[in-house]
Structures are given as C-alpha cells and as structure tokens.
C-alpha cells in the first residue's frame, strides 16, 4: 500500500510546504492543469500526494483516510477533540505562524487583561440584559481557554469571515481570531488583550494515529520520516 500525505491545496501554504519537503530531498509537484487537485512525489517510493483544503486535513487525519498531513496547529486543536490521542505532531515546519488572540475595541481603555474582560462582561450583561458577545470561528479553543481562566458572562457568536468587522457592525462586542501582524485588527479599531495568546500556531506535519498501515506502508513511512529527519 502507499502512504497518503495530505498537503494544503493552494496558495503560499502549499508552496512553502513543497519547499520544506524539497529542502529535505522529497520533491513534490502538482500534476495536470493548475486547477486539478493532483500531485506527485519524487524521492521516496510509496508515498501518494493528496491535495486538500487545510481545514479538511484534521478531519481526514482523524478518520485515518490520510496517514500524514500538513495543517495548522490551530485547526487540529479546534476541530479534533482529544487531538493528541488521534494525531501525532511530527515536525513544526517554521512557517504559517499565527496567534489566536482575543481582540476588543481600542476604545476600551479599561480592558487589557482577562480579569478586565471578565469584569466588563459582568457589567455588560447587567446593563444590556445579554452576555457579552465574542465573534469567532474557534469555538472550542476559545471556550476552553475562557473556562480555564474563569471568565464568565460571555457568549460566542459564530463568525466565519470578516470577524474584525463584527464589533463595528454591532453583532459582537469583542472578537477572537488568528492574526500574524495585527494589522487588520488595528485597521478595525481593535486591540489585542495583553495576555499570552490563546494559542501560538504554525504549519505542522501530523501523523494519524488511527490510519491503517501494512508492512509496505510502514516501510514507506519510515523511509520518509528518516529522509525528513522527523
């Protein structure tokens, strides 16, 4: 059998992943037309390239339909409950850096810490009759983080895009999102809480702990890992 390796199917993440593998003697390329999601691997026998959306790679790893996959740590932790039992981190790839942060209006001069956010949430709820809304697509990560730190009286509202605009549009009071430079936040009059980020994430090579591997597959996997030095 061949080992299936899931790689993000487009953009800089794909190119940088190709580069990272290329530097280690495993060259990858897209095959067919630019629009066709197929690829080839050279340098190791028995490894098949599967091009997928980065957001689907956690699910495919957890289901065991791919053996290896490159995606962000943020997506793995958000999408997979009990993630460390289902996938193994083989290597951080050193790109795709992003911090998951909580942002509030920069006009909130009284809110810089989680303690402030908690107190502001309590006051907000009693003034407005509903819990302070935090717009995010990282529901699990943010909920776990806020529970861990004992923040109450907030609610998460789903936002799958343009999250930084929700405060101005009055659909949320605060946001939680991935940022690398903070530029979009500043442009939308938001600031980052002065706490450690909820999560520091980067592109990472994961191995599925549940995907079935026969002897030939195991050989290919070991050869690839040796070559990559992971």
């Amino acid at each position: 059998m061949t080992i299936k390796l899931g790689i993000p199917s487009k953009g800089r993440l794909m190119e940088k992943t190709f580069d990272w593998f290329g530097e280690r003697g495993v060259s990858m390329s897209r095959t067919g037309s630019d629009r066709e999601y197929a690829g080839a691997v050279e340098g190791v026998e028995g490894v098949q390239l599967v091009l997928l959306s980065a957001g689907e790679i956690p699910r495919e790893l957890a289901a065991g339909r791919i053996h290896l996959g490159v995606t962000g740590q943020d997506l793995i932790r958000e999408k997979l409950a009990n993630w460390s039992a289902r996938v193994e981190e083989l290597a951080e790839l050193g790109f795709g850096h992003a911090d998951l942060i909580i942002g509030v209006p920069s006009a909130w001069v009284d809110v810089d810490t989680l303690d402030d956010l908690d107190a502001a949430s309590a006051a907000f709820r009693s003034a407005h009759g509903f819990r302070l809304r935090i717009a995010t697509k990282y529901h699990r990560l943010i909920r776990d983080y806020l529970r861990e730190h004992g923040v109450a009286d907030y609610q998460l509202v789903d936002s799958q895009g343009a999250t930084e605009g929700t405060v101005k549009n009055l659909t949320a009071e605060a946001i939680a999102d991935i940022t690398s430079t903070g530029e979009t936040l500043r442009a939308n009059h938001l600031k980052i809480l002065k706490e450690e980020p909820v999560l520091r994430s980067q592109a990472t090579l994961f191995r599925s702990r549940v995907a079935e591997v026969d002897a030939a597959g195991q050989f290919a996997l070991t050869t690839l890992k040796t070559k990559l030095g992971v």
Binding site: A81, N82, A85, P105, S106, A107, W108, V109, D110, D112, T113, D115, D116, D118, A119, A120, A122, A123, F124, A127, H128, R131, L132, H139, R140, R143, D144, L146, R147, E148, H149, G150, V151, A152, D153, Y154, Q155, L156, V167, K168, L170, A172, E173, H189, K191, K194
Partner: protein
C-alpha cells in the same frame, strides 16, 4: 456489561423506592430550550451538553440534567411542599473523558420544602444512601454555604464581595481575585497606567460597538474606588484558606469549623446549620464518623448548589464518575422562579453504574 433492559429495570426499581417515600413521579422533555441553560451556566455548557436547533424553536439542548426542568415545572405549577422523582436519560459530551458514557439514565429525587432544611437535607441523603444498598461506597459531603457566608462576612466593599461571590464556582478566578484584593498579586501595569492617567480615554481609539463610553467610565470609576480602599487583611485570607482546607470526618470537621468560627463569626450560622443537619442525619441512623466532609467539595462540578452537597464514590475505581450526587439549590429556584423562591434539595443516582459495581462489571 450491564445491558439496557437491566438498567431500565434498575432505574424503575430505584424510582419506586422514591415513590414509596412519597415522591410524585414526573416526566420531563428531552429537548429543553437552550437559552435557559445558557443563561444559567454560561457558554461552558455548550462544551458539556448537546445543542441543536431548528428554524422554529431556535436552539434546543438535549437535557444535561433534570434539576432545571423540574425546578421550572415546580415554580410554574407546583403545590407546596412537593417531592418529585423521575427516571430518564441525560446527555453529556465527554470530550475529555472519551470512555465515559455520553448518554445515561439518571434517577432523581427532589424536595421543595420551606419547613426544615436540615431535615430535608438528611432525608434526601439517607434515602439515596439506602437506595444504593450495601455497596461499600465512600460518601463525601460539603457545604457551599460556608464559603458563601465567609465571603459575605469579609471586611471589605460590597463590590469586592459581589465579585468573589460571582466566582464561588470558579476556584481559579476566585483565588486570583482574593490574591488581588489582598495585595498578594501586584496591580497589572496596564491598570496602574489607567488609574494614573489624567485622561484615560486619550490612549483609546474611536468608540465602536455597543459598550458605551459611559459604561467604560463607570468601570474606571469602580476601579478607582477599589484602588482607594484598603486591602483584605492576611488574617482574613488565612481564615478563608483554613476554611477551604477542612477535610476530615464529619464530626471532626464540625469541631474544626467551630474553631474557625471563633475568629470568623460570619460563618457561625452556616456552621450551626451544619450541626443541625448532622443531628437530623443521626436521627435517620447515619453513622457520622463514616462520612467525609470536604469544605471545597462541589465547587467545580455542581454549579447551582449553594448549601449541602454530597456524592457517593467507589474508592477503588477513581476512573469512574460518582454513583450518586446531590445537594441544595435554593438560589436556583430564585433565578428560575422569576421572583419566587423556595428551599430545595435533591439528588440523582446512575443506575447503570450502580448495577455494574454490584456485579463487579463496571
């Protein structure tokens, strides 16, 4: 493994014990409006319960427990005093403990009675313990009311007490607040800068969103007031720590708590309530020496309990959840009763676990 038919039969057997004790059998909807539970428990409940929705009724939750719907039913239509029993599935996500069941039967017994809380507490405890039969289970008890009284009696501002009271069930933030109010934690730099600024808004951006400038000003005023009042004394913090670390047999704990109450008179009424409850338990034939008391018991997992709390555990199986739990939830009836309130206490048993332990198959 215990099969479902056997579990159901065991649940009905347990329920009949509660019915024989005078409880009225009630049924509750499996789908509950999510809003009530979200308002009560906050966003955390989404990680513990199953939420679903439809276009007509909005968000619905598969009942994570019976207590809330039973209280609602009682507050809407119940006569007093009242006593209910039920048996049915509850649904809980188990992300952190994948080996635990995410749906299981609960059999419960709930008492709404204004007459004598100590007697009602003892009644619920004893009835549940007897229903558990001869299994050698460890009984843990506690009383959230002690900590609440201690907080209410602190020599500090109402605002600080309210902040601590709000986090009674979140030990980590509770501790953080205590440390800050007592000066054990330094004031964060950002706050120091805010409080010393002539015009705190100067550093801020344009006003956006629903939280208004006057709300921000109100919080700055509150922070200024708080910075001006004196710290909670080390002696008071030590007493709270002493209270929270009480963990021994029930009679020894009572003596210990009475010692603490000498320096902390605010907990005296709560300690005497504990003593009355112990008398009532003794009257029911409970051997108090065999019961553990832990002052911190029930602070993390039982959010609506505000008085007596208890749980029964198999000591050799730390991996298993408690076989039965319960407690007093007077405040919950007030929240759900829209102004009305009635003292209430209850408990639940997990029949599958009970049967499994009895057969050594859990």
């Amino acid at each position: 493994m215990v099969n479902r038919t056997e579990t159901r039969a065991e649940a009905l057997r347990l329920k009949s014990i509660f019915e024989a004790a005078g409880a009225q059998s009630v049924e509750m909807d499996i789908l509950q409006p999510a809003e009530v539970l979200l308002d009560l428990y906050g966003e955390d409940i989404r990680g513990r319960a199953y939420v679903t929705s439809d276009a007509l009724w909005g968000e619905q939750m598969l009942r994570p427990d019976f207590t809330v719907p039973v209280v609602q039913m009682h507050m809407n239509e119940g006569a007093e005093p009242a006593c209910y029993t039920y048996a049915g599935e509850v649904f809980r996500q188990q992300e952190d403990a994948p080996n635990r069941a995410n749906q299981y039967l609960q059999v419960g017994y709930e008492v709404f009675d204004r007459a004598n809380s100590a007697v009602a507490d003892a009644e619920v405890f004893s009835l549940i313990r007897q229903a558990l039969g001869d299994l050698p289970l460890r009984a843990a008890t506690g009383d959230i009311g002690l900590l609440m009284s201690a907080v209410a009696g602190l020599k500090t501002t109402e605002a600080r007490k309210a902040a601590l009271m709000r986090h009674i069930w979140r030990p980590r933030r509770f501790r953080w607040l205590l440390d800050r109010f007592s000066g054990r934690l330094e004031v964060p730099e950002t706050r120091a800068a805010l409080l010393s600024a002539d015009d705190p808004h100067l550093s801020g951006g344009p006003m956006i969103g629903l939280r208004s400038k006057s709300e921000i000003d109100a919080r700055i005023d509150a922070l200024r007031e708080d910075a001006a009042v004196s710290l909670i004394s080390d002696a008071e913090i030590d007493l709270i720590d002493a209270l929270l670390s009480v963990r021994e047999s029930l009679p020894a704990a009572l003596e210990h708590l009475r010692d603490i109450a000498v320096d902390m008179p605010s907990i005296e009424p709560a300690v005497e309530r504990l003593a009355l409850r112990m008398d009532a338990m003794s009257d029911r034939g409970e051997d108090l020496e065999t019961l553990d008391f832990e002052a911190s018991y029930g602070r993390t997992s039982m959010e609506y309990y505000d008085g007596f709390v208890f749980g029964f555990y198999d000591q050799s199986r730390a991996d298993l959840p408690p076989v039965a739990t319960g407690g007093r939830y007077d405040a919950l009836t007030k929240v759900l009763g829209k102004g009305d309130a009635i003292p209430a206490v209850g408990g639940v048993i997990r029949p599958e676990l009970l049967l499994g332990l009895e057969r050594g198959e859990a």
